[in-house]
């Protein structure tokens, strides 16, 4: 029984660990911290599996846990250096991806450009767009992770895409 659970867990880990790590890394701009949050998210999943709790969608579960852990991490960070954080936007308790950090990532030019432009989006639209295009998630999954309905996620996604096309030059106006 336990072997079955461990096997299932390892399978989920192999499939989702990179996505969770990427999601955390882009948000916290710190590789060690991203690894810690990823580990904590998988630890919670493993704990739930051992307690035989019903998990309908493993992926959404992991992203939701990671999302809340990141918010918690930012809250702790805020209490340490309030002044620095107050300068940054924090509607959802997130920072924008650190520009120097993004430039240090081993990314192609298009990837780096897209990541920078996603970071410039309003926080409400930023995460739906990221989850849709970087993680290929459906509006329903995005809704579950962000705690909103699928319709609201879809609306934010559309608005975010319009905004992204405008600022990233994907709308054909040749701004880039």
């Amino acid at each position: 029984m336990k072997e079955d659970r461990a096997y299932k867990f390892e399978k989920i880990y192999q499939n989702e660990s990179d996505a969770i790590f990427r999601f955390c890394l882009i948000r916290v701009s710190n590789r060690e911290q991203a690894l810690d949050i990823t580990q904590e998210a998988f630890l919670r999943l493993w704990q739930s599996m051992l307690e035989e709790k019903e998990i309908l969608n493993d992926r959404a579960f992991l992203f939701t846990i990671a999302h809340h852990l990141i918010i918690d991490w930012y809250r702790k960070k805020k209490s340490i250096s309030l002044e620095n954080v107050m300068q940054k936007e924090g509607e959802l308790g997130y920072d924008r991806a650190d520009e120097t950090f993004v430039s240090n990532l081993e990314l192609g030019a298009e990837g780096r450009h897209l990541l920078e432009k996603i970071s410039e989006l309003t926080p409400v639209c930023r995460y739906p767009v990221y989850l849709r295009y970087a993680e290929n998630m459906s509006p329903r999954e995005i809704g579950v992770i962000l705690g909103i309905s699928a319709n609201v996620a879809s609306v934010r996604l559309n608005r975010g895409m319009q905004e992204l096309r405008k600022i990233a030059g994907y709308d054909g106006n040749g701004k880039i």
Partner: protein, 242 residues
């Protein structure tokens, strides 16, 4: 299209951000080793694991719960049928179940047999209580009222059916039988009153057994009513209408 192509390339580049194999391995090891594996301790309660399994399947859970509720309701109804006056189930029987039964009989013809039995029930219950020496003053007072109320109800249901039948000339033959029935009902009520007037007499028990059974003969009375409703009104020429 070109711009979507660029967007897709950008998304593909982002998806290349991954953990190194070492990081991946060490994180997995940390996770698996951080929690002690729970040893399986058999539950002392044998029903709990079964209940837990049932709860996991919502369809089975709600189905079983519905069945349980139905079984409990049926058990209560059956138990209340045998309840005597003074029992805690008696109000359920008198106020709800009998009312529901009479409502479920839509035609006056269907309603009459069940209502015809009602006035005799309090008398039978009185007898039972006397046999058990459980008849006290409050019970007597309540039992005095019941036959009258039920007799009125029966008379009402017979009156309801009368106009419909009077339209049909062929049903004129029924009138004497119906009149007999009403007279029987009035007699039942009258005897009930007499019975309660005699409650101070020392030989109440004897009075009930001898005079009630012989004079009132409720079973015979009910049988006559049932026979009438089974055979139906006799038409002219000796035909039986069903």
């Amino acid at each position: 299209m070109m711009n979507d192509y660029r967007l897709n390339i950008g998304a593909g580049d982002i998806q290349k951000i991954k953990m190194s194999p070492e990081e991946k391995k060490s994180t997995l090891e940390h996770v698996l080793s951080s929690l002690p594996s729970p040893e399986h301790v058999p539950s002392p309660d044998q029903f709990y694991p079964l209940f837990k399994k049932i709860r996991k399947n919502r369809f089975v859970y709600y189905g079983l719960m519905s069945c349980l509720v139905i079984v409990i309701c049926v058990e209560i109804i059956l138990a209340s049928n045998d309840s005597s006056f003074g029992s805690f189930l008696y109000p359920l029987k008198a106020n709800i179940i009998e009312q529901v039964r009479s409502v479920l009989h839509f035609s006056p013809g269907d309603k009459a047999p069940s209502e015809s039995k009602l006035p005799t029930k309090p008398l039978i219950e009185t007898e039972t209580l006397i046999n058990q020496n459980n008849l006290d003053e409050p019970k007597k007072d309540t039992l005095k009222i019941l036959p009258d109320a039920q007799t009125k109800s029966l008379a009402g249901s017979i009156n309801e059916s009368r106009p419909k039948l009077s339209n049909n000339e062929e049903n004129d033959d029924q009138t004497p039988s119906r009149q007999t029935k009403i007279n029987d009902t009035s007699r039942t009520s009258e005897k009930s009153r007499k019975f309660h007037q005699a409650d101070n007499a020392k030989d109440t028990k004897e009075y009930t057994k001898n005079s009630f059974r012989k004079l009132l003969d409720p079973e015979g009375w009910v049988k006559r009513g049932d026979d009438f409703l089974k055979t139906g009104p006799k038409l002219k020429g000796g035909e039986v209408k069903h």
